[in-house]
């Protein structure tokens, strides 16, 4: 295979890995803080993408045409709206069920995901059809030998890296991050130390959902198209990525995200006859990994007291 094609595959893999990581980090944050699996995370990504699109259409219709401004607005609105949505979900659906069996939270978030997905499909104008997403990043490419580096991809990758680095800094270097980690370790002790548990939970959900919003917009910019079902598979992939990496570990989410993307890319190269099979291949490997290392490649946080 020639270098150009190889670089295309690698680029694609990196982009996918970045997007999966953004979703996986969300799952890991929610699990870390509350020991719950929020199955609606992928669909929050979808709603974020559609919110961004609606913002774009709205602003265009009142005459705004500056691309950077539009991009900024799309991101800001999507992020704020999803952060708010995340907090509402935490406040009204997840926190009330804390004393119920964990299964109930899993089920309620699964159903919530369906509600979000169906609401987009039913209530967004022609939501059942895929919608074109505007190209808000420069589409020129730099020629590096046999490989064309698209500027928009480069920018998105760089942004993704910046976000993850920023998140790590937030968690490890700030008081807020310390509070989040304290709550993730041991809720009771954190409370006795004066940390406002509810506030931290809401903030964590806001952060996770904001990441989903960014992931959704990124997805739209990369594929130039969004559809109501996009979050479902992304959510499942993000969740598996978080698991194989090790639930509760940010590094694990990153590792898992890129690992899954790599598997898909290998699958696509090895089985070119049907793109659906790359997903089957990737999931089969992931399931085998789960069987081999149930707590993840990096240790999952043990929460059961015997």
């Amino acid at each position: 295979m020639d270098v150009g094609l190889l670089s295309q595959y690698i680029m694609n893999g990196l982009m996918l890995g970045m997007m999966y990581t953004l979703v996986a980090v969300g799952f890991t944050l929610f699990f870390g803080v509350l020991d719950i699996i929020k199955f609606s995370h992928g669909d929050v990504l979808t709603v974020g993408a559609f919110t961004g699109l609606a913002t774009y259409i709205g602003l265009r219709s009142v005459g705004v045409s500056s691309t950077p401004l539009l991009l900024l607005a799309v991101l800001v609105v999507a992020i704020l709206a999803m952060a708010a949505l995340g907090m509402l979900i935490a406040r009204y659906l997840v926190l009330p069920l804390r004393s119920a069996p964990a299964l109930n939270t899993l089920l309620i978030t699964l159903m919530l995901g369906t509600v979000l997905r169906e609401m987009v499909r039913l209530f967004y104008p022609q939501g059942a059809n895929p919608k074109p997403f505007p190209a808000l990043l420069p589409t020129d490419s730099i020629n590096l030998g046999q490989f064309n580096l698209r500027l928009d991809n480069a920018i998105m990758l760089a942004t993704g890296v910046a976000i993850i680095v920023g998140l790590r800094l937030l968690l490890n270097r700030t008081k807020l991050g310390l509070a989040i980690r304290a709550v993730a370790q041991d809720e009771e002790t954190a409370r006795t130390m004066g940390i406002n548990f509810t506030a931290i939970v809401l903030i964590t959900f806001a952060i996770g959902s904001a990441l989903a919003a960014i992931g959704g917009v990124m997805n739209g910019l990369y594929y130039n198209e969004i559809n109501f079902g996009m979050g479902l598979l992304l959510g499942v992939i993000g969740f598996s990525a978080a698991i194989i990496g090790g639930l509760g570990s940010i590094y694990g989410a990153i590792l898992g995200g890129f690992l899954f993307a790599a598997l898909q890319t290998i699958g696509a190269v090895a089985l070119p006859f049907a793109s659906a099979y790359k997903d089957v291949f990737a999931f089969t490997v992931v399931i085998a990994l789960m069987a081999w290392r149930p707590t993840g490649l990096i240790q999952e946080k043990i929460s059961e007291r015997v």
């Binding site: 899993l106 039913l122 069987a291």
Partner: protein, 393 residues
Amino acid sequence: MSGSERMPEVKQEPQAPLLPGVVAVALSTAYLIALLAVEKQPLVIGLLAFGIVAVLAAHYMDWLDPVSRSFAEREGMLSAYAILAACVVAAFFHDNHFVLLLFVTVLLYAVATLGLNIEFGYAGVLNFAGASFFGIGAYTSAVLNTYTAVPHLLVLLIGGTLAALIGSLLLLPVLRTRGHYAALVTIAFALLLKTFLEVNDVLGGPQGMQVKGMSILGWSFNDNFEIGKIEMSFYLNYFVISMLLLCGTFVLVRRLERSWIGLNLDAIRLDETAASCFGLDIARWKITAFVLGNFVIGLAGALFGMVGGFVAPNNYTFADSLIMVSILLLGGIGNPWGVVVATFIVVVLPEKLQTIQEYRFLLYALIVIVVLLFRPEGLLPRPVRRYFPGGRA
């Protein structure tokens, strides 16, 4: 103390009366016939409102307690009455293809959800691909009926077996992990199976395949027939076999729950660590539940394929699996009567209220959210295990 030879004297309580249960069955049957018969939307809405009000009123007048006690202790007799009631409904609509098809659909979905109940409700194995296994059964019918001459009853068994086998392959790797792993694996399977079916033209691709109707020993299930001078819809054939399947499954689920195996499943679901400290082989019982449950789901699916006459990937999606889970949660997880009642509600409602057809995924997801927040035990909560109800224990 003399030990185990002395039989304990448990005070014999008088058995709960049969009448409240019989009255409930009779009234429900009448209501169901009315609901199935009316067509005009305003009438349907009126009837539904009446039904809700009636149930709420009965609840506040404390009429529902005697009914549930009746069912708890006189289940055998009341089941017989329920079967009779179903036959009455079928007889009433004996020449109405649409209603009979709907009724048979309810019966087969109930069977499948009872299978899901064994996995989900008893053993606590999270299976979010129920509809996919149902579909595997249906596709088995399609393929075997089209390409082979395998007798149709055997086709049903093969459909069940295939679903059980594929399910086991899926579950074995994640048996020793936490519950959410099984959830993830089954969701991934549900999503990927649909894509797999769509890209495989051999299985009909997105359009699906036709399924030849059932025929046993030369009696074709797809021909209308006559009794005396009365014309009968051919769906009555399917009604009979579906009822047999439902009754068989109901008995299986009941006996399973009221046995040491049912106890094992509950123990595993509620506390795996403690269960293994008392000798339970977690993997063995989870697999048992999963194989049994999926076999039932596949069996129902195989029959459903023949009833409907065709199979397509779009009928067995992840959203459809979530509908099955919704039925389970709405009816009362672990309670087979709850499953039957909830199946009626979930399947019949969108057919009668045409306006909500489009919204049914949204609607049922919302209903389940409400149930989980305010009444997680469901409409008919599962009672404490009575190994031999109506008698000593």
